[in-house]
């Protein structure tokens, strides 16, 4: 049975990674699960310099989902390399580094730095974080800016480039195509949805940042639709995510058109989820006599 998939020139031993920002820098959950079973480890978003992030409260629970406005707290490129890279480098599975900047040049500079580091599996361009003023969804909802960011990063590195699109557009196919044309090797779909919750007792938003991003099982049907739309528009592979809790959810993303998937919010309440998804996927393939996981990609039957 073949479970391995390719994201640009990166080979993942199986199609299941974790979503950026829901798995720290890998080491934390290494205490609960064997990271070497994963398809790849994807780390929290990094920009050039350290980032303090937003004030608290930063998350709030919602119906079958949650809001977050962490504000991309992080150690910056140097801090990351010093503190977390030695461990990640020691893993048998590739690391996908989620990067961002507030200018096109900063994105490119971060890409250059990780290109120079050596050993990185792929870079994921976060152009879709709803929780920061500059550099987040701004790049992901403006197709001209998106093309600029991807082009600049493409020039800065030969590492596989995954563009993480914003869900908050009426036509995801257009943005998918822009990223592909600008040289992205793959897409990641979807990031969180701009959202809000209010504590009616205090009349204050539940997040200090006022608004945040909605993630978790609640959004899965929207994410499936986005992946399906994008997959029809491009030839490059898609990493599908948004509310995956069970192997069935992952298989649904694959059928919709994803080549790989990422487990996000579910890690917070059930850190075993990525391994359970891999096991369930294997079992499904056995039962259905599917020999290569790539047969699942885009296999939804849509003839009316």
């Amino acid at each position: 049975m073949n479970l391995s998939v390719k994201i640009g020139k990166l080979t993942m031993p199986n199609p299941v990674t974790v979503a950026s920002g829901t798995f720290g820098y890998g080491a934390e959950y290494a205490r609960l699960i064997d990271l070497n079973q994963l398809g790849a480890v994807t780390v929290k978003g990094i920009r050039l310099n350290p980032v303090t992030g937003n004030p608290t409260p930063r998350t709030a629970e919602t119906t079958s989902g949650m809001l977050n406005a962490i504000g991309l707290q992080g150690p910056g490129v140097d801090g990351f390399i010093k503190k977390y890279w030695p461990f990640l480098k020691s893993l048998e599975v590739p690391t996908i580094i989620n990067i961002w900047g507030t200018t096109v040049e900063e994105y490119a500079e971060v890409a250059r730095r990780f290109d120079a580091l050596g050993g990185v599996g792929a870079l994921e361009l976060n152009v879709s974080c709803p929780n920061i003023k500059a550099g987040g969804a701004q790049f992901g909802t403006d197709s001209t800016l998106l093309a600029q960011v991807v082009t600049a990063c493409r020039q800065a590195t030969t590492l596989p480039l995954i563009t993480k699109l914003s869900p908050n557009v009426p036509n995801i196919a257009l943005f998918a195509k822009v990223a592909e044309d600008a040289g992205s090797d793959a897409l990641a779909i979807t990031n969180s949805f701009p959202a809000m919750a209010i504590d009616i007792q205090t009349r204050r938003p539940k997040l200090a940042n006022l608004t945040g991003g909605l993630t978790g099982p609640a959004i899965k049907p929207i994410a499936i639709k986005l992946v399906w739309e994008a997959a029809k528009a491009v030839k490059i592979p898609i990493i599908g995510m948004g509310g995956i809790q069970h192997a069935d959810d992952a298989i649904e993303f694959l059928m919709a058109g994803a080549t790989a998937v990422a487990v996000g919010t579910a890690n917070f309440y059930e850190p075993q989820t990525p391994l359970q998804v891999i096991a369930g996927l294997r079992e499904f393939m056995l039962r259905k006599k599917i020999h290569d996981v790539r047969e699942l990609t885009g296999s939804v039957q849509t003839a009316k």
């Binding site: 720290g24 609960l32 992030g53 629970e61």
Partner: protein, 270 residues
């Protein structure tokens, strides 16, 4: 790489789940791998499986440890604790524990611990009292009589308990810091050095931090922040901690919940 304490995920069986006072409950869980690892001030992150529509685990301080079981003392405040309070012996919960950096148990002949607790903050302090070689005083405060928990258990350890209630229905009337302040102002022999330990709502922690500064005493505070993952990955639970000239956010679930009061950047604490 940073130091990360050991933690385990386990399906824990409910041994008992009984009302304590009013809206407080005591839950005993069988978790043979976890129980022996627990240090005072650590917490368990509990997935309440029958909870509907809500996904996240709930953090609770570990109250007592006995053999292959540990217990928590919780207050029903919302949907998770409400559903938890309706669960029965034999049912299962998923637990990740022990979590966090707990209290430093004073060394033999070391400081005399003065514990300050508000409401279910008492739960976080029992193991510390039990394992401390020096007996000390526990100052416990609450709104009403029913908010004063497990006095007898501390008394049974040979500790002195000073209770205060805001409505005067039990112990002294007023805030928990009043008798503490009185105690600190009482002249003591030079041999007697105190260390403060506190767990409770943020205003209480702030007040204890202030007393520690005024009396130049060490203090360890268990900070109260909302959590999501409880295991250090999501960066939900941060508080501002001094770092050189400036400050940085540290995780209550990993670097905390117990912090040295002097390390906290109080101006940034809400």
């Amino acid at each position: 790489m940073e130091h990360l304490p050991r933690m385990l995920e386990q399906t824990a069986i409910i041994v008992s789940n009984k009302r304590d006072t009013d809206s407080y409950f005591r839950l005993v869980l069988r978790a043979p791998q976890i129980a022996p690892l627990i240090q005072p001030g650590q917490f368990a992150h509990v997935r309440i499986l029958p909870l509907k529509e809500a996904l996240l685990r709930r953090p609770f301080s570990i109250f007592q440890v006995a053999g292959d079981t540990f217990s928590i003392l919780y207050k029903t405040v919302g949907k998770g604790t409400d559903v938890l309070s309706r669960m029965s012996a034999g049912e299962e919960l998923s637990v990740i524990a022990p979590l966090g950096h707990g209290f430093t148990v004073p060394p033999v002949g070391g400081e005399i611990p003065l514990l300050v607790a508000g409401g279910y903050g008492m739960a976080a302090m029992f193991l510390l009292a039990q394992r401390s070689p020096q007996k000390g005083i526990v100052f416990v405060g609450g709104r009403r009589r029913v908010d004063i928990l497990c006095e007898q258990e501390f008394a049974a350890l040979g500790w002195e308990v000073r209770a205060t209630t805001e409505d005067g229905s039990h112990g002294e009337k007023g805030l928990v810091t009043q008798p503490l302040l009185a105690e600190l102002r009482t002249p003591h022999s030079a041999l007697r050095t105190f260390k403060l330990f506190a767990c409770g709502p943020t205003p209480l922690l702030k007040a204890v931090g202030k007393l520690a500064e005024d009396f130049n005493l060490p203090a360890e505070l268990s900070m109260d922040e909302h959590m999501c993952c409880g295991t250090g990955v999501c960066l939900t639970c941060v508080i501002p901690v001094k770092a050189g000239e400036s400050w940085e956010y540290q995780r209550t679930c990993t670097e905390g919940p117990v912090f040295d009061s002097r390390q906290i950047f109080w101006e940034g604490v809400k």
